[in-house]
Amino acid sequence: MNSADEHSAMDGTAIQRLTAGPSRAEASAMAGPAGEQAGEQAGERSDGQPIAGLAGGWRRLHPLSPLVRAGRHLVVLATLLLSGAVTHQQDSGGQGRYWDLAVVAVVVVIGVISWLVTRWQVDNGTLRIETGLLRRSSQRYPLSQIQAIDLVESGLARVLGLAELHLRMAASGGSAGRLACLRKADAEILRARLLALAHGVAEDSPPPPEQLLVALSTRRLATSILLSGQGVVTIGATVVFAAVAVAIPAAIGALGGAVGLLIGMLTAAWRRFNSGFELTVSVAADGLHLRSGAIQTATETIPFGRVQAVQLVEPLLWRPLRWCRLEVEVAGRRVRNENRPEGRQLRAVLPVGDHGQAAFLLSQLIPAAPTADRRAPARARWKAPLRYRYLAWGDSKTCIVTTNGRVRRVTRWVPLEKVQSIRRVQGPLQRMFGLATIHLDTAGRRIQAELTDRDVEEADHQLAVIPGRCRAARRTARLPRPFHGQ
């Protein structure tokens, strides 16, 4: 990449600061396609008259939702039936066709039943979802404990104009609430209403104004994925595979396993691309709003008070471009399709961007974030030769920052009021050099802030001081910002 290219790529993602005011997306969601909203789940028209507010009785999901929920299983079934049909035609047809019809009928009946027995209701500040025919299950979600509500549209749902709502509760375990599926316009209105109720204001009050902070360019995203470790490995594997396939066509059969691996790698890369595609980050009173997705789109909220830790990663291959990635850990886990917990991936608020953007977003998440300016003592070089140049920490009144990493530098910010426990760890080598490490444990297991290889006296002093500072920070921790406060 020559320097001119690089320059234009950098300009591609300029930070946009707009004046406050309702964003277009929210405004259009509220205005909605008013003409289309009829039927049992109708929401609110643009004139603000609640037609069927949340107070009503039990409601059902959209009749097509079993189709969307079945999703990929449906594709498998269709392929099986198709291949079955082909073989049946070859051997004189007859009974096989009836079996196919019977299978389809059973699947349809199951779908209809699952739709019939699933219903939901908002009652007394609680969302109740009941489902199941033989094993009834009834879930209750107190709205006051909702952390965030994500609006997710899978590919099929988008074709049908549907969307799912995922409730994120504070608890880290257990199944999160999932309303799949509603008509998209209804889902957006319901989301706004549930959030309003969750924040203790009237359910039909307008959503808070939003301000666009960052929009990600597709080109930069694609480049960043190609330049990531994962991307390089995928490209290398593809090239090797193609070369082998061309050079020794006979060996293709033996490469069956490799094909599976390759597909897995490509899927992972695609997922990263999808989750960052056309990402926009905007700020509202209740937190950062993220919208993204090429095929499956999602809208999610990262509430300010719930950010447990923030992490800035500078991968080796991105260093010439001066790019970085900003990730956050939020209490409670997100659910993806089929209630599968999100794997080891953190939520990237900024999948790729320059330091200016990262610093700007960081200032939204953690005001007045400190910089790591206290280096590890020189003798730590003998104990951690690769990491030494990155070992440092710093603090402000409310936050501690640490840097670490062998080939890529990782900077982690932990607000003091979010520290769960503090540990001092000293291995034999550290004892030899008079060093010790202080760990700051936060909720979630993916961001580990540690003051690595400090002088023993400094470590002991910090271990004695930090618990008190955390306590003070917890007491004075700002209350969640008022949601609709103007």
Partner: protein, 157 residues
């Protein structure tokens, strides 16, 4: 800060229990290996193998001794301290307000010795805070005290 606290150690019965467990595993191992060596090779080889394993077991016993002696906890006004480890020394500070729940477990062997393990859980997976080998009464007292303190000083996530 380590010396200013009054540390409470696990019960001495824990060491007895661990030693008995070790002996129960070590004795049959030493005899079978010794006999096998004697049958396959000579009596000298069998004796040598048995001696080597016995030496390993004794070294292991010393390590157990140190590890259990290193384990201690201290209840401070606002947090609980737990110290452990011989090679890698660890000292954890767990604020009472951060405790999500406390559980007391006692396996069949522990029950035989009247012991129990107290475990504190915070929202962080990394803060592994457990105290093994407490007498059942002490474990119950600690559990109740921690639960009460946790409630009094509870803080949100």
């Amino acid at each position: 800060m380590n010396d200013a606290q009054d540390w409470t150690a696990p019960s001495t019965r824990l060491l007895v229990m661990r030693r008995i467990q070790l002996a129960l595993i070590a004795t049959p191992t030493i005899t079978t290996v010794g006999l096998l060596g004697a049958f396959i090779g000579s009596a000298g080889l069998g004796g040598l193998l048995a001696l080597v394993i016995a030496a390993v077991v004794l070294a292991w016993e010393r390590l157990l001794h140190h590890r259990i002696r290193a384990w201690a906890y201290a209840e401070r006004e606002d947090d609980l301290l737990i110290r452990r480890g011989v090679m890698i020394r660890k000292l954890s500070v767990i604020p009472y307000g951060r405790m999500q729940f406390v559980d007391v477990t006692a396996g069949p062997v522990e029950r035989m010795f009247g012991l129990a393990t107290v475990r504190m859980h915070t929202a962080a997976a990394a803060s592994d805070a457990r105290i093994p080998g407490l007498l059942a009464a002490e474990a119950a007292r600690l559990r109740d005290a921690l639960a009460a303190l946790g409630e009094a000083k509870a803080a949100g996530l």
